[in-house]
C-alpha cells in the first residue's frame, strides 16, 4: 500500500516535471517572436520597443571569433553574440563615438528589470494579469561598440547569458 502511494507520488512528480519542461519550452518559443526592435511579454501581446543600450568593448582579448563570422564578446562575466547573418555591423566616426552614452555591464540587469516592471505593470493595469518575467535576455537591445585605437565598430548583438 505504502509502495503504491510512493509510486503514485513519483508518477505525479514526473508528470509535473514534464509539464514544467513544456511550459519553459513554450515560454522560450513565444519569446522567439521577439525581433530586433520589439519584445512581447506574452504571445499576441502588445509589441514594446526594446530600449537600446550601448556597451563598450575596448579589448581584443575578450572576444571569440567563430568560423561562420559570428563573434562572441565576453565582457565582465556577460556574453553578447553578434550573428553575422542577422545582425548589423557598421563603422562609427570618433565624433559619433563621443556622443554615445555607454552603460556599465553591472547596470544591464537592473535596466532590464526596470523595463520589465514598467511593461508588466502596464499590462496588469490594462489586462488584469501580470506576465511572467522572460527567462532569457530578450528585453534590451544591446549594441557592443568595439574600439581599437581609431577603428570603431558598432555590433548589434544578442545578450546571451551571465557567468558567475
Amino acid at each position: 500500500m505504502e509502495l503504491q502511494i510512493v509510486i503514485n507520488n513519483l508518477g505525479m512528480k514526473i508528470k509535473v516535471l514534464i509539464l514544467m519542461i513544456f511550459a519553459f519550452h513554450f515560454l522560450s518559443f513565444s519569446q522567439e517572436e521577439n525581433n530586433s526592435k520589439h519584445y512581447k511579454l506574452y504571445k499576441n501581446g502588445e509589441k514594446v520597443p526594446r530600449p537600446i543600450v550601448y556597451i563598450l568593448n575596448n579589448s581584443t582579448t575578450n572576444l571569440q571569433k567563430l568560423d561562420n563570422g559570428d563573434i562572441i564578446f565576453n565582457i565582465d562575466n556577460q556574453s553578447f553574440k553578434y550573428q553575422s547573418n542577422t545582425h548589423k555591423k557598421d563603422s562609427l566616426t570618433i565624433s559619433d563615438f563621443k556622443k554615445i552614452e555607454f552603460k556599465k555591464i553591472k547596470e544591464l540587469s537592473y535596466l532590464e528589470y526596470e523595463e520589465y516592471v514598467t511593461t508588466a505593470t502596464k499590462i496588469m493595469t490594462e489586462k488584469g494579469f501580470k506576465p511572467a518575467p522572460p527567462i532569457n535576455h530578450s528585453i534590451l537591445k544591446i549594441f557592443v561598440i568595439s574600439k581599437n585605437k581609431n577603428n570603431i565598430i558598432r555590433y548589434e548583438t544578442n545578450w546571451m547569458y551571465s557567468k558567475f
Binding site: V16, M20, A23, Y42, K43, N44, K106, P131, A132, F164
Partner: protein
C-alpha cells in the same frame, strides 16, 4: 505563451514549485535565481559535493561549502537566505570556507 497559458503556467508554479514561484514571480528581481538557489537548493549542492568527495568529511562541511556561490550575489548584496542565518551559523560557515575552500588541500594540477 498566450495570456491564458501564462496564467496556467504561473498557477502551476505556485502549486507545484512554490520555491521557484516565490522568487521568480512574487519576489522577482535581477538576483531572483541565486536567491532561490540559496533558499532551496543548498541541500542538493551539498549532496553533489559530498558524493564527489567520497563522503570524506562530516555532512555539515558540505552544507557549509554549498554557500560559496550563494552568500554574496552578483549585485554584491548578501542573499536573503544568508541574512536569515544567526551570527553563530554564519561564523561556522565562514570558518569552513577558510579551512576547506580557501586553504584546503588540492590535488589539481
Amino acid at each position: 505563451m498566450t495570456q491564458a497559458e501564462q496564467i496556467a503556467y504561473v498557477n502551476s508554479l505556485r502549486t507545484n514549485f512554490p520555491g521557484i514561484y516565490d522568487y521568480y514571480i512574487e519576489r522577482y528581481k535581477p538576483t531572483w535565481n541565486h536567491n532561490q538557489m540559496a533558499s532551496h537548493y543548498r541541500g542538493t549542492i551539498a549532496d553533489i559535493l559530498q558524493e564527489f568527495d567520497d563522503f570524506a568529511k562530516p555532512r555539515q562541511v558540505y552544507e557549509d561549502l554549498s554557500w560559496v556561490g550563494l552568500r554574496i550575489l552578483e549585485d554584491g548584496v548578501t542573499s536573503i537566505a544568508w541574512d536569515s542565518l544567526t551570527q553563530s551559523e554564519k561564523d561556522n560557515v565562514l570558518s569552513n570556507f577558510n579551512t576547506y575552500f580557501f586553504n584546503g588541500t588540492s590535488n589539481c594540477n
